[in-house]
């Protein structure tokens, strides 16, 4: 692992994109930042601007209107960017998969690096997913 790769993995800044979510996943993501779970241990920070982000967390079902926004956000992000789909909605569509405004799970729209299933996933599951993302070999990252 080179120096660049090491620094990148030690300082992942998160940007949170909420689609048409039922809000449970959003709350669980925020839970990761609370004293009990504290992802700042791994150098992760929640940032407000996509220009600073290294990880794009997508949760909630993506409908027709969100699709445009998600694509725009993804193209605005400085590369390399990792995408994590959180929750059943992000991974597959979950209970909204049959809806008539549903525009496909996240990986139909943009390349996804990690999936964290659950409805909603527990903060422990999100942490486990993040650790898996950190241990992934660089060449396994989708060409983002």
């Amino acid at each position: 692992m080179g120096f660049k790769e090491f620094c990148f993995k030690k300082s992942l800044w998160l940007f949170h994109f909420g689609g048409a979510s039922c809000n449970n996943c959003d709350i669980e993501i925020l839970d990761c930042l609370t004293p009990r779970y504290d992802v700042e241990r791994f150098g992760m920070l929640l940032v407000g601007s996509i220009r600073h982000a290294d990880v794009l967390l997508v949760n909630g079902s993506i409908n027709q209107k969100d699709k445009k926004r998600l694509l725009e956000i993804y193209h605005q992000a400085p590369k390399p960017i990792l995408v994590v789909a959180i929750g059943a909605c992000g991974c597959t569509g979950g209970i909204f998969a049959e809806g008539n405004t549903f525009a496909g799970p996240v990986d139909k729209i943009i390349p996804v690096d990690a999936y964290i299933p659950g409805c909603p996933p527990k903060p422990e599951a999100i942490l486990a997913g993040i650790v898996k993302l950190l241990n992934k070999k660089p060449e396994q990252h989708k060409s983002a």
Partner: protein
Amino acid sequence: MLKDLFYYIIYPGFLFVAVSGGILAWFDRKITAWLQFRKGPPFLQPFYDFFKLLLVKETILPAKGSKITFLLAPVFSLTGALLAGLLILLPVLNIKSGFSGDIIVIFYLLTIPSLTYIIGALASGNPLAAVGASREMKLIVSYELTFLLIIAAIILKANMSIKLNEILLVQEDSPFIGSISGVLLFIVAVFTVQAKLGLVPFDMAEAETEITHGFFIEYSGTPYAFIKLAKYSMLFILPVFLCSLFLGGLQFNGLNILWSVLKLLGIVLLLTLIRNTNPRVRIDQAMRFFFVWMNLLVIIAIVLILFGL
């Protein structure tokens, strides 16, 4: 010549300021984490952040905006911060005595980072950045007068000498903090430094939750790394400046190292505590705070100095 280069680039110039600034940035984040009962980031975290931004991330230029100004602003902010650091540290560490009037040059150089952030934000063409820039402008207008008054009071206290070295010599056996006027001035100076650093009660220009990083919103990659470095340097330089104005400066020899480091950490701890126990104020509240209350305190302090207290 070679010795001068060593001063400028390694110690106490560029490298020293950047590394100590990074360490203080870690200290600030760690104390914040402890106050919130968290564990906090690892020791080298600011350096990881910096190198990630510098080496790994892509730099995106604004499509509608002045690209050259956008890119040059962070360079100038870093230059201003490091030059101010050099001018402060050379007399403080007793390497060179500086020149007469250097305290006024330092005052101007310390304004450069905030000014260049504004220029860079306005060059990016982003409306939220423009909001941040206008807020920062109002903030500068409000705290700069107070800062100037503090420096004037210090000059008055130091028998009208405008040389940092002489101000330090006057404080040799009794630092300025030991008098009533000194205490008043120190309180005001801490708040001014808080506003200069853009820490929480006065971070409305950066307000993450309402205007998403305000004037840094469009910065990514290398320019943002420069901004981070400028911020780290300011986090080191301004406490050193406070130390030299009120606490009798820093000595880096023998056991004095420990005492100097403690002084620095104490000031940063104070700033961190203020930042963690206060909500963000509105811009009009900040202006009233500085224009009315802080200026009043400084003027009381100046009157006290005239009476020799």
